[in-house]
């Protein structure tokens, strides 16, 4: 992706955000709206400045993206977070670590089994036994 295209998109997105946010701030009391309004005005001003600069700025550079891999990582992370309340922390975490390692090329059976299990044991000892914290439980246990 071209850096100029990205900056252009960011500037337009921020201008829309500022317009919507400024209007939303109108619903607050005067005190509560003061800093948000100042912040939106500053962001809008800088976005316009960036847009103007993009027109005058010569040259451009490409930001390389491995879209498939990035989307796969984000998808796996999202699935993990969605699964935690359903299956609980332990099952979800073991599944996530296993799936992520496998998806990105780890094939050693011992590694695929020992790393998730070892991580779960470590978290259990530090967070549950030592710090008395309770990881999320599955919905059917709550």
């Amino acid at each position: 992706m071209k850096m100029k295209t990205a900056d252009l998109g960011v500037s337009i997105l921020l201008l829309i955000l500022c317009a919507a946010g400024y209007m939303e701030a109108g619903k607050f009391t005067e005190q509560a709206a003061l800093l948000p309004r100042i912040t939106f005005l500053c962001i809008a001003g800088l976005s316009v400045f960036q847009l103007v600069k993009l027109v005058w700025k010569p040259g451009d550079k490409t930001v390389p993206f491995q879209w498939k891999r990035v989307l796969a990582i984000i998808g796996l992370a999202a699935a993990y977070v969605i699964l935690i309340p359903v299956l609980g922390y332990w099952i979800s975490t073991i599944l996530f670590i296993f799936a992520a390692m496998f998806a990105f090329g780890v094939r050693g059976k011992a590694v695929l089994v020992c790393i998730p299990a070892g991580f779960a044991v470590f978290v259990y000892v530090v967070f549950v036994r030592v710090l008395s914290l309770s990881p999320p439980t599955p919905f059917f246990v709550q």
Binding site: M3, A6, D7, V10, L14, G21, E24, A25, F28, T29, Q31, A32, L34, L35, P36, T39, F40, C42, I43, L46, S47, F49, Q50, K53, V63, F65, Q66, R69, V70, I73, I74, A77, A78, Y80, V81, I84, P85, Y89, T93, F96, I97, A100, M101, F104, G105, V106, V111, I115, F119, V123, V126, F127, L131, S132, L133, S134, P135, P136
Partner: protein, 498 residues
């Protein structure tokens, strides 16, 4: 005073104290290194345990956790770009690039030596300057605090390698993100879209892990490279002697430590702000500011010396006025209360052994931390030998449990993932996550003091904000901070043209 100092030394010079100081320091280093945990959490969890202990060993152990925790945060920052604590976020700017260059052991050693120098200078300042410095802090009102926050925000200008506009935009977006939830003066809900979770705002740990650790994990997996090629494929052996790390950068150590002490004394400022200010100052004074963010040793030194110097600084208002200068100092205040000790000037008269014993404990735990960290660096860096296909999922999973554990909230985990995705794209397009975090951290300090100053003067901004010499001093520092990069850039361009 000398006899009190010596009797304090005699009180801590026992095997029992030594054992508790070692335990405290190691627990602190581990708590600091694990994202989501912190020295504050570890101290809070151990305060009830101190009820059954004698006061001085208990406080010695907590001092060890405080010092060790401040340093521990730099380990995961340096190795994995995952700050173990908010105050270590700045360490990642140069620590992680050094790791990528195969200089992780050197980076870790610089981190622990700077932490030691910062911590030691802060203890000396605590002993010598506690009473006079406390009086200066009492002169800070809402207007002065507001200008301290503005000065902090001005630092974002120098944090962006892609230009001032991107740095400022990132800082302002951080400021905006912190405005979600109730406003600090009137508790009016803002930008919460009717959600109970959103009305409480975003938890700092969730935002911090989101902006730093998730983008790092995504970046690790993004490129299809050979195993752990990204992370120090070839670790360069650098034979380093303890004091050879100090001599070439002595000014950065001392200056950053002094900044840390001063910021530590100001209640509510803390190690994260200190490290940002020290980093910015060191960069501006450097002959090679362009090397910062690319593995510059002075970047690590300034951050770590400053955040560990906060430890002693934060004890100044705690011991002299009963006002904690940092969250960890507030947790230690709990230990004093558990022991039935009343903080304030009378403590020096009634329990001088305890006060000076605590100061000695801070000094000794710094020494323990130095040796554990310096000689353990080569051992710790072995974590880099793990393949990135294994490391990245572990960073995700570890960040998740660390984030969840702060307040047992899945909402925080969701926030972390969302900020992680935003942070990844910000990183790729040159909007610095560090500026975002700085804006986020300073938002509460800025807004609450702005509104307080305005309400004290009936809403007149001129009488509210321009009413003291200290305010003008902070304004002057802000102007210098904003103009320095512009002037140095202009001078550099002129020299090149000539």
């Amino acid at each position: 005073m000398i006899e009190h100092i010596l009797s304090g030394l005699a009180a801590v010079a026992t095997l029992e104290h030594a054992v508790f100081m070692v335990i405290g320091t190691i627990v602190g280093i581990l708590a600091g290194a694990i994202p989501g945990l912190s020295s504050t959490l570890a101290i809070s969890l151990l305060v009830p345990v101190t009820f059954v202990m004698d006061p001085l060993p208990a406080l010695a152990m907590l001092a060890g956790i405080y010092n060790g925790g401040m340093y521990g945060g730099s380990i995961s920052s340096t190795l994995f770009n995952v700050p173990g604590a908010a105050s270590a976020a700045v360490t990642a700017f140069d620590g992680h690039p050094m790791t990528l260059q195969g200089r992780s052991a050197r980076a870790l050693q610089l981190g622990v030596l700077s932490s030691f120098v910062g911590g030691t200078i802060s203890v000396v300042a605590l002993v010598l300057l506690a009473a006079p410095l406390a009086k200066v802090v009492l002169m800070f009102g809402p207007a002065e605090y507001f200008w301290v926050a503005v000065f902090g925000i001005s630092i974002v200008v120098s944090l962006s390698s892609e230009g001032m506009v991107k740095g400022l935009l990132a800082g302002l977006l951080g400021l905006l993100a912190a405005q979600v939830g109730m406003d600090p003066a009137t508790a009016v809900p803002r930008f919460d879209f009717g959600s109970v979770y959103m009305s409480g705002g975003f938890q700092l740990t969730a935002v911090l892990l989101g902006m730093f650790s998730i983008p790092s994990a995504i970046s690790l997996l993004e490129k299809k490279t050979a195993a752990h090629e990204e992370l120090a494929a070839e670790e360069k052996e650098e034979t380093v002697r303890l004091f050879s790390c100090f001599r070439p950068h002595w000014a950065a150590y001392i200056r950053s430590a002094i900044i840390g002490v001063v910021v530590g004394i100001i209640p509510a400022a803390g190690g994260n702000i200190a490290s940002f200010i020290a980093y910015d100052t060191t960069k501006k004074l450097s002959k090679h500011p362009e090397t910062f963010g690319k593995g510059e040793p002075e970047g690590i030194i300034s951050s770590e010396a400053a955040n560990n110097a906060v430890t002693g600084g934060s004890f100044v208002p705690l011991l002299t006025m009963g006002i904690p200068g940092s969250p960890a100092a507030a947790a230690i205040m709990g230990a004093f209360m558990v022991q039935g000790l009343v903080l304030g000037p009378q403590l020096f008269a009634t329990n001088s052994n305890l006060v000076y014993g605590l100061m000695w404990s801070m000094l000794f735990t710094n020494v323990i931390m130095l040796f554990a960290g310096f000689y353990g660096a080569k051992l710790v860096r072995k974590a880099l030998a793990v393949d990135k296909e294994i490391l990245a999922p572990l960073i995700f999973a570890f960040s998740t449990i660390g984030c969840y554990s702060v307040r047992n909230s899945m909402f925080d985990v969701n926030v972390m993932i969302v900020f992680g995705i935003i942070g990844y794209f910000m990183k790729r397009f040159g909007y610095p996550a560090s500026a975002f975090i700085l804006g986020y951290i300073l938002s509460a300090l800025l807004e609450s003091n702005l509104l307080r100053a305005l309400s004290l003067t009936g809403g007149n901004p001129f009488t509210a904000l321009f009413n003291s010499g200290l305010s003008f001093l902070m304004i002057g520092l802000t102007v210098i901070s904003l103009l320095t990069p512009l002037i140095t850039g202009w001078l550099g361009k002129r020299n090149r043209d000539l």
